[in-house]
């Protein structure tokens, strides 16, 4: 595998996936030192403090919500979904890039993924945790969340399986579970490395327990590899299904602006778009700060940028087709929906979304831009905001004016909406900062496989 990769790199004259001169030792040390040797720095503490502060705000917002109910949010009829669902879709979409990198790129033997899959998977887990909070809080009585699952109960009622909202429960909980399984299975051999490299007896014990006594046996590796590729195989349709089902939450309803067949592919592309933006937002500072440029090379950043460009164009196609179908359908309500998006009270959101998601990212066509980490970081932030606006437009502008003008309304988020949203960003940030310091952020054993020394010569 490694040999083929090297040749491809030479042919295309691209930056390598791993810098030359690396050895089994250097790979192991570079990655484990971030966790085991490196002193706690001010930048890390500062980042964690910001995350923890926002996390505290989340605690406050959720407590107030539990005490007072969803009335503290801006939601009301006709816009009953508001921030909760916008943020749910946004977060879960961000998570999708992690699965794409770990599963789909593995199936396609894209070995460059080996250095970014671990933290991309961590990103998935944390993003799904943030996403999962929103529907739960939105239910009004989150402590009865288990009612969503089919279990024998004294009320004698069962979930309504014809509803996409129930499908969503199954899709998102399966996605969270399988992502955690994939992540943990990938970590076991690296926990064994950590067990041997750690000097602190307590750390050795914890890593030893997490490694399950892994000893690198050839028989174990064979079963391990078989499972790893199968997990990738089942995660691939899973990740596509998750955002498809999320889009069904909208597409199955008859609201103009929601009831359209383009939603599943357009949602999946949008998810990957925002997910890769988040990968870049995390990878660029992490590789710089921890000196991992030899492993997360410009090749990775450029590939991520190209994927963003491609998925961004698919999203653009989605916007175009929504408009085209609304005009072509001849339906008054569909046409009004587009008119309202373009010129209604939320037109600012629509046009900013076009600017952020479609126009600005076109600069990625220029190789110079793709080679600049500053530009990539900036464009990724723009895309993250753009994709959030997309969900805002889909949910709010569709709901606030549907069929009956007498039922039209307006939606304004309250400070508690913002506090909950910012709070989940804090949860995500804090989790990423903690993760970086306790778990090897790059898959060590898969990096060893990329080295020319790993090749068996006949």
């Amino acid at each position: 595998m490694a040999g083929v990769e090297e040749k491809n790199v030479a042919l295309l004259d691209e930056p390598p996936v791993i810098s030359p001169g690396q050895t089994f030792d250097s790979v192991t040390d570079t990655i484990t030192d971030v966790v085991l040797k490196r002193p706690i720095g001010l930048a890390w503490l500062g980042g964690l403090a910001i995350g923890m502060t926002l996390l505290g705000i989340l605690g406050m917002a959720v407590t107030w919500l539990l005490l007072r109910g969803v009335g503290i949010w801006g939601i009301n009829v006709p816009v009953a979904w508001g921030f909760a669902i916008i943020n749910f879709v946004w977060w879960i979409g961000i998570g999708h890039a992690g699965t794409l990198i770990s599963a789909i790129l593995l199936l396609f033997k894209q070995t460059w993924r080996n250095s970014i899959n671990r933290f991309a998977e961590a990103m998935t887990l944390f993003a799904v945790a943030c996403a999962g909070m929103f529907p739960l809080l939105h239910m009004g009585r989150p402590w009865l969340g288990y009612w969503m699952f089919p279990y024998p109960n004294t009320m004698g009622v069962w979930p309504q399986f014809r509803s996409p909202l129930v499908w969503d429960v199954f899709a998102v909980s399966t996605y969270a579970t399988i992502s955690a399984v994939f992540w943990f299975v990938g970590l076991v051999p690296d926990f064994a490395t950590m067990r041997e490299e750690a000097t602190n007896p307590f750390a050795r014990k914890v890593y030893g327990a997490l490694s399950l006594g892994w000893r690198g046996s050839a028989r174990h590796w064979t079963r391990y590899e078989a499972l790893y590729i199968l997990l990738a195989g089942i995660s691939t349709p899973l990740v596509l299904s998750v955002h498809t089902v999320v889009s069904f939450d909208f597409a199955v309803a008859i609201v103009p602006g929601w009831h359209t067949t383009i939603f599943p592919p357009y949602f999946v592309a949008g998810a990957i778009y925002s997910g890769f933006a988040m990968v870049l937002v995390l990878a660029i500072p992490i590789r710089k700060y921890y000196g991992l440029e030899g492993m997360i090379t410009m090749r990775h950043l450029q590939n991520a940028a190209k994927i963003m460009l491609a998925t961004g164009l698919i999203v653009g196609y989605g916007y175009f087709f929504e408009t085209f179908v609304a005009m072509y359908s001849g339906s008054t309500y569909e046409r009004f929906m587009i008119h309202n998006r373009w010129f209604g009270p939320y037109a600012w959101a629509y046009w900013s979304l076009i600017l952020f998601n479609i126009l600005i990212p076109q600069v990625l066509w220029w190789p110079k831009i793709r080679q600049s980490t500053t530009w990539l970081f900036f464009i990724s932030l723009v895309v993250l905001v753009g994709m959030w606006l997309e969900r805002f437009v889909i949910i709010v502008t569709s709901l606030h004016r549907d069929y009956l003008p007498s039922s039209w309304g307006h939606y304004t988020p309250t400070r508690w909406d913002w506090a909950t949203y910012m709070g989940t960003i804090g949860l995500f940030t804090a989790a990423i900062f903690v993760f970086i310091r306790i778990v090897p952020a790059i898959s060590i054993f898969e990096m060893r496989m990329l080295l020319p020394q790993a090749e068996v010569k006949e």
Binding site: F24, R162, F170, V188, L227
Partner: protein, 182 residues
């Protein structure tokens, strides 16, 4: 009085190598020599080593398949039972067994069961978690999670002979040979 089974006093002999190529060659030589109860150890998967010691197929794919089928069946049957038998509701005149609507949870349950049974199956087949293993007595073996490759011929192999096997291993030119105590 004679014992039918004699418990070997050591676990086996462990040879250490510097590269995956040497490990694979050693595995091939040991297999040709007639050893079967042995295992190779490496810091990353070396498929050729596993082939060379005669371990070709694992049961993991079968477990994942069976888990997936069971998950799909139970997912569909759960929905059928709820919607047709336990709690039939007429929703817009749709049939009680609205099977197209049940496909999404059925699919998710297939994936869930396949993934979980795969993970638990893989660890169970590997005998993990196993915090204690005789190999951990050998100090040099800690490099197996870093940069060294090992071949262990186990004492339970019928051909194992402390002196003979050691001589055989020396011919493989390893970095070191260690006795692995129990």
């Amino acid at each position: 009085m004679s014992h039918a089974v004699t418990v070997p006093s050591i676990y086996g002999l462990l040879a250490e190598f510097d590269t995956p190529t040497e490990l694979v060659n050693a595995c091939k030589a040991a297999y040709a020599e007639g050893y079967r109860e042995m295992d190779a150890y490496s810091p990353f998967p070396v498929e050729e080593a596993s082939e060379a010691i005669g371990f070709h197929k694992s049961a993991v794919p079968l477990i994942v398949l069976v888990g997936g089928i069971l998950g799909g069946l139970s997912g569909f049957m759960l929905q059928y039972w709820i919607n047709v038998i336990a709690y039939p509701l007429n929703i817009g005149g749709k049939p009680f067994n609205s099977w197209p609507a049940f496909i999404v949870p059925t699919f998710e349950m297939t994936i869930l069961f396949a993934g979980l049974s795969g993970m638990f199956g893989m660890f169970a087949l590997n005998g993990l978690p196993r915090p204690y293993h005789p190999l951990f007595h050998v100090a040099r073996f800690s490099k197996v999670t870093r940069n060294k490759f090992f071949l262990c011929v186990e004492a339970i192999d019928p051909k194992f002979d402390l002196v003979g096997t050691q001589e055989f291993m020396e011919r493989l030119k390893p970095l070191s040979i260690s006795e692995v105590p129990h």
